[in-house]
């Protein structure tokens, strides 16, 4: 059997942390794009489309990410769609983050006064232009802080990708625990690494929040 030094543990975890970062990036970019599309749909005056998006949000916020990952990985294969772990993780994490991001951004859009919409309308801008030039730029300013804050949730969410075979930070931790029989040390290291990734993001989000409040 092999012996792990503390450095072996840490360096392996660091290597695995790369995947945590890559997964987070995928989730965030995918979730952002889909979330934006859903946001547009949700802002249109069409009732049934709005409700469809609300249902989507309800569905993916109302079920565990763990289950979503599992169903994306094995369930899609059941339906005959060949999925790699990467595809499944990307799909599940995208669905999950897009639901949350749409919700966050929708709140920001709603906080823009009705007067702004009406002013844009009465200047003959069409719906797309109203969103693009008047509403979204203003909503974006409020949205930056909570969006960055949500990034922390995404990073932590990737821990669950271990159930579909991803050797990211958490899974690496479990595997090393099994080889070393030192759970306390290993999970402490895992926790510290997550903290090192997430805390700066949290701080940044908070400082953005502060800046925004000063501006107003």
């Amino acid at each position: 059997m092999v012996e792990f030094s503390l450095w072996d543990i840490v360096s392996n975890l660091l290597l695995a942390a790369r995947w945590t970062l890559v997964l987070s990036l995928i989730a965030f970019v995918g979730g952002g794009l889909v979330g934006l599309a859903l946001l547009v749909v949700r802002t249109t005056p069409n009732r049934s489309l709005q409700q469809a998006v609300a249902l989507y949000v309800q569905l993916f916020q109302g079920t565990p990410l763990l289950m979503q990952l599992f169903l994306a990985y094995f369930g899609m294969a059941m339906l005959g769609v060949e999925t790699s772990a990467w595809t499944a993780a990307a799909v599940a994490l995208t669905l999950y983050s897009s639901a949350f991001l749409t919700e966050i951004w929708h709140g920001c859009v709603k906080s823009i006064g009705k007067g702004q919409w009406e002013a844009a309308q009465s200047l003959a801008l069409n719906f797309g232009e109203q969103l693009r030039y008047v509403i979204f730029p203003q909503a974006a300013r409020i949205a930056v802080a909570p969006t960055v804050g949500f990034l922390v949730q995404v990073v932590k969410g990737t821990a669950l990708a271990s159930v579909i075979g991803f050797v990211e930070l958490t899974k690496a931790g479990t595997m090393i625990t099994n080889a070393t029989f030192k759970p306390f040390v290993v999970y402490s290291c895992v926790a510290v690494l997550y903290f090192l990734i997430c805390y700066p993001i949290s701080l940044y989000a908070r400082s953005l929040e502060g800046k925004f409040h000063v501006q107003r």
Binding site: V2, N12, T174, M175, N178, F181
Partner: protein, 238 residues
């Protein structure tokens, strides 16, 4: 199209292997899987003349990999039983394996009945879980964990009094944790390992069976057992 056709066309075979089950499958300092099952996977791929893609799985999800064709073969300390044969097919056995119950020397466990009132860590969905569920007395408390990592960790960290797992895993565990003073208590089941193939993939099964038969004859199977288990494979069922 059969799985075998696909393998030969792609020149690639996808094999599910364990990473939580020393010495059959575990990780080294480079986090690369190694062990008897990994060697077996590589051996089969070589004999078939194709490349191999190893997919780490857990006891709980390895069948799903086969069912959804994410893996062509499962070489993951897979024991055979009638329930499993309903959903997947098995080749002949390739390595010996027996599951047992382990616990501290100070704990008196002479028969299955002594399990009453004790906590046992076991991996959810593994052969030992099914076996234990059948034979354990009513008062025994089975704690079922997601994968073998968690099961062993639970026992080592003292969360349970007893551990039900493969003999080899337990051997490594006891060697690494002399302070636990653990010993072999009861045999659960002697269940050699088989290779799982998808239901109805007879071409592939025949092909793998041929490779195993060949390896038994040539002594390669015994060599692998010697390398990882410290003894020859012995008589294995077809």
């Amino acid at each position: 199209e059969t799985a075998l056709d696909n393998i030969q066309k792609a020149k690639l075979i996808k094999i599910a292997i364990p990473t939580d089950f020393p010495p059959y499958g575990f990780v080294g300092i480079d986090l690369k899987p190694q062990g008897l099952d990994i060697d077996m996977a590589n051996y089969i791929a070589t004999k078939m003349g194709v490349k191999v893609e190893l997919m780490p799985v857990t006891s709980a999800n390895r069948i799903a990999y086969l069912q959804t064709k994410k893996a062509d073969l499962v070489i993951s300390t897979l024991g055979k039983n009638p329930e499993r044969e309903k959903v997947i097919d098995f080749t002949s056995a390739y390595s010996p394996f027996f599951q047992a119950i382990y616990g501290a020397k100070t704990l008196s466990v002479k028969s299955m009945n002594d399990l009453a009132g004790k906590t046992v860590a076991v991996t959810r969905g593994a052969i030992e879980d099914q076996e234990l569920t059948k034979v354990a007395p009513a008062g025994a408390e089975l704690k079922r964990f997601e994968d073998n990592n968690a099961t062993v960790s639970a026992y080592v960290s003292g969360q349970t009094q007893l551990l039900a797992t493969g003999a080899s895993v337990a051997g490594v565990m006891m060697q690494k944790n002399p302070q636990l003073n653990a010993e072999y208590k009861l045999l659960l089941k002697d269940s050699p390992n088989f290779i799982g193939v998808g239901k109805g993939e007879d071409a592939l099964r025949t092909k793998v069976n041929a490779i195993i038969a060949e390896a038994k004859k040539s002594g390669d199977i015994d060599k692998m057992a010697q390398k990882w288990l410290g003894r020859p494979a012995g008589q294995l069922p077809e």
